[in-house]
Symmetry: C2
Subunit: 194 residues, 2 copies
DNA sequence: CCTACCGATCGGTAGG
DNA sequence: CCTACCGATCGGTAGG
């Protein structure tokens, strides 16, 4: 049987284990044990361990871009685009922390074709930020030296949330999203009203 | 022979390989091959692969704190402390990129006593940032909602440099340090003169 | 989905 | 610093 349910069970187990022990530190036996089957049975759903990692990485990266595009619908002010992008970035990295940690940490373990796909998606994502920032600069709303560096400021800062954020901890996610959105506009020296 | 030279050769080879393929993806054979000896000979210098990773991680983390302390000598204005800290953080993460990537990526693979030591050093480092920021707030120089979050902004942003920075690339390291130092003061809403 | 099994490689040890 | 070797585990396959 090659049910979609089993496939996603394997995927979920793999994410947890890759996150905990890394791609090379996780055996097919480990994944199978969590799912409740034998290691050899995984090969009815995936051709290789590499394909499991590829599936996880491509899926989560595509989802990030999809949700980013969705959060910008109907927004025209570049300052609001930055706010929405930052909120989305932080929320995504907090709520899909294991997946983004794995896809960031194991990007070097990823081989083609997955590696090429994921790298291209990441370039697209950075490029979207760059274009929003440059649009704001042209409108005289932002003042920055380099739009690429400004993008790294914000993306790297928000990605860090996936490492230290704990649901139910000291910080409420909604509050965090607002703090980061405001911080982004400060980084860009955005003219008020923010 | 347990020469210090051999030990650091093993260390250097291990950093490159751990960075490239991860801790679990790297065998003692791989490290030995780079050094030009047999895998079993590494055990004349280290008791285990874990000890090699521990050595790398503790050393680089101690060095970060040492250089951070040194960059603050004679500085009293909190704004200048933030500038110096940010410049040091970025420069360190750019010039020791493989080491910090390994020590960040493999922190979960680290066992006690190394894990405990490294985690404590990291807490110390964060605490130093927090105290500088709170000092600036008390003096009315900074305006922020949460000093811990503000620390994460800056530390995470600067740590990102270790991932994308390439020496001899589009950005000069000195310029980058200044850009990040200025960005840090914007994040803190520092009062001029900056 | 299973059992049975492949050759390769793993970290580490014994002994010199 | 080496050779020789340990038991365990690796990703993956054959065959049902």
């Amino acid at each position: 049987m090659v049910s979609q349910k089993r496939r996603s069970e394997i995927c979920a187990a793999a994410v947890e284990l890759f996150d905990e022990r890394g791609y090379y530190g996780t055996g097919m036996e480990d994944i199978a044990k969590v799912v409740g089957i034998r290691a050899s049975s995984i090969y009815n759903h995936y051709n290789s361990k590499q394909q499991v990692l590829g599936d996880v990485s491509v899926q989560i990266t595509e989802q990030l871009l999809r949700e980013h595009a969705a959060c910008l619908v109907g927004v025209s002010d570049p300052r609001e685009k930055v706010r929405a992008s930052m909120r989305n970035h932080v929320r995504f990295h907090a709520t899909h922390a294991p997946q983004v940690r794995v896809s960031n940490r194991e990007v070097k373990a990823l081989q083609d074709p997955y590696a090429g796909i994921v790298r291209q998606l990441r370039r697209d994502y950075v490029q979207r930020w760059v274009q929003i920032i440059e649009e704001g600069c042209r409108q005289g709303l932002f003042t920055i030296a380099d739009s690429k560096i400004a993008t790294y400021y914000m993306v790297d800062m928000g990605t860090g949330v996936s490492v230290w954020f704990r649901p139910g901890g000291a910080y409420e996610l909604d509050d965090l999203c607002e703090l980061y959105a405001n911080a982004a506009l400060r980084l860009l020296r955005a003219v008020p009203p923010n």
